[in-house]
């Protein structure tokens, strides 16, 4: 056994013991849905004492953000250790102690583009679940063209002044802070006058309104900035180069959305659902469609794994993340169509619970860049096709 794998084994043994001792029983049901997720934030109401305890204990070990450096609130795990971590968490069906856009998106952006001061200031509260972030990219009417940012942000000497509107800001009504793209130079080419800024949602002039979706009540909001003032240092990266940060983050978001595809609605394996279905054995159409979906699911999951391995080995995923996003979300839509078909008339009732998941997946191939945008990115940047 090499030194590394010995170290890994030790880590695994310690982790297993720690989890055994510290993960509350109630947190071992593997659930990961709207009613059980812990989002954190200033106004977070824990759904149970166990949820609170589990978060607190994980925070002390840095396990809410296991790969972040220790000084920013993480556990500083290597990629191999991270794999072990997820495997051990999975073994006991532990819930995630904390999830948030701060962890998924702002954190990686700050780790890459932020100053040391910004990291020290913003990351630990995310890791501790004290500050909840939301994302302000899209604007009404801009559609797939994320660089079509109209929210005007003016340099007022000692502060910024922003006016504009964002749409599709998930949980804006519950978040403490927002990271947003704003236009800081209206005369520059479209991609060159955008900045990536951080705004406290309690600032005067910030307001939100929820959006109702076809799947029912949704986490999405519209967010309005009316003469909102905020300090000059709340910019990530270079002024007018916010598009670089956004692009970097989009890659992360795509991977996240694609990875989320893996849990697939109910979380039950598709095979079991089809086997249970009244016509699962007798209808070749349903069976064949499910077989194809299963083949593709396994292969897409392996691809996600391969790209992670590649990134770890120093290879850049880059534009190919558009592939993960495209394949993952389209597949997820197919899978949920099959779950609905397998559910027959039972699944057609709101109370049954399958329909909102099904309808929600229809947004997967729109949010974070449509499938069409992903295909255009791939055709131009990866295949080098003209136009």
């Amino acid at each position: 056994m090499s030194e590394t794998s010995e170290k890994l084994s030790t880590f695994q043994a310690e982790l297993r013991a720690w989890l055994e001792e510290n993960c509350p029983r109630e947190m071992r049901d593997g659930r990961n849905d709207e009613t059980t997720i812990c989002w954190g934030g200033k106004n977070w109401n824990f759904t149970s004492e166990a949820q609170r305890t589990w978060l607190k204990r994980c925070v002390t070990k840095g396990y809410t953000v296991p790969t972040w450096p220790v000084e920013y609130g993480g556990a500083g795990l290597s990629r191999d250790e991270e794999k072990v971590f997820h495997a051990e968490m999975g073994r006991i069906n532990a819930r995630y102690p904390l999830q948030s856009f701060g962890i998924w998106m702002l954190g990686p952006a700050l780790l890459h583009f932020g100053t040391h001061e910004q990291k020290l200031h913003y990351l630990p509260p995310i890791a501790r679940g004290e500050v909840r972030w939301c994302q302000g990219y899209s604007e009404p009417g801009a559609g797939s063209d994320l660089a079509n940012v109209q929210s005007k942000c003016e340099d007022k000497g000692d502060h910024w002044l922003v006016n504009g509107q964002k749409i599709w800001t998930s949980y804006a009504d519950k978040a403490d802070w927002i990271f947003a793209l704003v236009r800081t130079d209206k005369d520059a080419p479209k991609h060159k006058g955008i900045s990536f800024v951080l705004i406290n949602m309690e600032t005067e002039g910030v307001s939100t309104r929820p959006i109702k979706l076809i799947s029912g009540v949704s986490p999405f909001c519209e967010t309005f900035f009316d003469d909102v003032k905020f300090p000059k240092e709340q910019v990530v990266g270079t002024i007018n180069r916010g598009w670089d940060v956004a692009k970097y983050l989009l890659t992360h978001e795509r991977e996240m959305i694609s990875a989320a595809g893996g849990s697939m609605g109910t979380g039950r394996p598709l095979g079991a659902v089809i086997a249970d279905c009244e016509t699962g054995a007798t209808d070749p159409v349903l069976r064949s469609d499910a077989m194809r979906a299963e083949v593709d699911t396994l292969a897409v999951e392996l691809t996600l794994e391969r790209y992670k391995d590649q990134a770890e080995a120093g290879g850049s995923v880059g534009d190919a993340s558009a592939m993960l996003k495209y394949m993952g979300t389209e597949l997820n839509k197919r899978r949920l169509e099959l779950l609905m078909a397998a559910g027959g008339s039972d699944a057609l009732e709101w109370d049954d619970g399958r329909a909102p998941n099904w309808l929600r997946t229809k947004a997967n191939s729109i949010e974070g860049g449509t499938s069409e945008v992903m295909l255009s990115i791939l055709s131009k940047r990866v295949l080098g096709l003209p136009g």
Partner: protein, 371 residues
């Protein structure tokens, strides 16, 4: 066989229907019902009956117009385009067709009440999550000269408001069809909250008494009456779904022309053009299957199963494609409840399951074609 072209009569019927429905039942009407927590609009159905639609399959002697199944499909298609919520298929198509198989005085009287809009029907047939009449387990126990019905039916479309129920039950080894008032003692109805906001219910039967007079057709021989009725319903539902596809497609094409992205209408992007054109082709091909099913039901009803299944299978697939492309091509706005596309998607999903899904009908076709 009559030509696969709409007759002048059918064209006029479609025009009149479109005119009336655009006014009386645009998609906003369904939205209004949904927001008010309703699934049924008795006044709308009364207006439709006044237009003669409730009696479209009833004989003239019963006050109907007896225009036939192709015409009923024309109406259903127009209703699909704006997602009209009404008991048309359950009452004017399925129940009327069942009653015409019997065609005695009582049945004719019932047809007259359907044609006038006085009475609505629902078909209580499904027991599992998938359409499968042969698997009916609900029992009608013989008792004296009559029967006692016990059991439960799910996904009874229009069952929450129907005045009468056509109930399929097992009488020993055979099946019998009952025509019962929905308020018969022992019947309980539980409305379901359906994704398409249409009326559907679970109906329970606890020692419900039925006499020989409540039997439609012959005891132990449900299918002589029921099979034509189901096939008529499947064809009309297929037509409705083709209408749903056409409605969703129409909205989408309009959006492609209006909506600008990167400075040009998104309909100028070739990838979307080709997908839209493909969808149009699918709609056209499905339209042929619908028209053919209507003609076959009118001309050789005893030999229409293949044509009906073809229509339902094609319409199911086409409607799914139309609403999926519709949402995707609309982007984020297509996902909002404020926009109508979601209603189309939900109705297409319910229509896909009702009276047999794609696999059910494809299987009938495969058997007929020697697979």
């Amino acid at each position: 066989m009559a030509k696969l072209v709409a007759t002048e009569e059918e064209v006029m019927l479609a025009d009149a229907a479109r005119g009336f429905l655009d006014e009386a039942a645009p998609v906003a009407h369904l939205r209004g019902l949904r927001d008010a927590g309703e699934t049924h609009d008795a006044a709308l159905w009364k207006s439709m009956a006044d237009m003669g639609w409730a009696g479209i399959l009833a004989p003239e002697s019963a006050g109907g117009s007896d225009m036939g199944h192709a015409a009923a499909c024309v109406l259903a298609g127009e209703m699909g385009k704006t997602l009209v919520s009404s008991p048309f298929i359950s009452t004017a198509v399925i129940a009327a067709t069942a009653l015409r198989q019997v065609a005695d005085d009582r049945a004719n009287a019932a047809l007259a009440r359907i044609a006038s809009g006085e009475v609505t029907y629902a078909l209580a047939i499904d027991e599992g999550a998938k359409f499968n009449p042969d698997a009916t387990q609900m029992e009608a126990r013989r008792e004296g000269n009559g029967f006692r019905l016990n059991g439960s039916k799910g996904f009874v479309v229009d069952g929450g408001h129907a005045d009468r129920l056509l109930v399929l039950a097992r009488t020993g080894d055979a099946l019998t069809l009952f025509d019962l008032p929905a308020d018969r003692v022992g019947i309980t109805r539980q409305a379901k909250s359906m994704i398409d906001n249409r009326d559907a219910a679970t109906v329970s039967f606890a020692e419900v008494e039925a006499t020989g007079e409540d039997v439609l057709g012959q005891v132990d021989d449900a299918m002589t009456v029921l099979k034509p009725a189901i096939e008529a319903g499947q064809a009309a539902l297929a037509a409705e779904m083709a209408g749903v596809a056409a409605g969703a497609f129409g909205m989408t094409v309009e959006y492609l022309k209006e909506r600008k992205q990167f400075g040009v209408p998104i309909g100028a992007f070739q990838a979307l053009q080709h997908r839209a054109a493909h969808l149009w082709c699918e709609c056209e091909v499905t339209a042929s299957a619908i028209l053919n099913a209507g003609r076959k039901l009118d001309e050789t009803p005893e030999n229409a199963s293949l044509a009906v299944s073809l229509a339902k299978a094609r319409a199911t697939d086409t409607a799914q494609l139309a609403v999926q492309e519709g949402v995707q091509m609309h982007g984020g706005i297509g996902m909002t409840d404020a926009f109508d596309m979601g209603f189309y998607m939900k109705r297409a999903r319910v229509g896909a399951e009702w009276l047999g899904d794609y696999g059910y009908h494809a299987n009938i076709i495969a058997q007929a074609r020697g697979f």
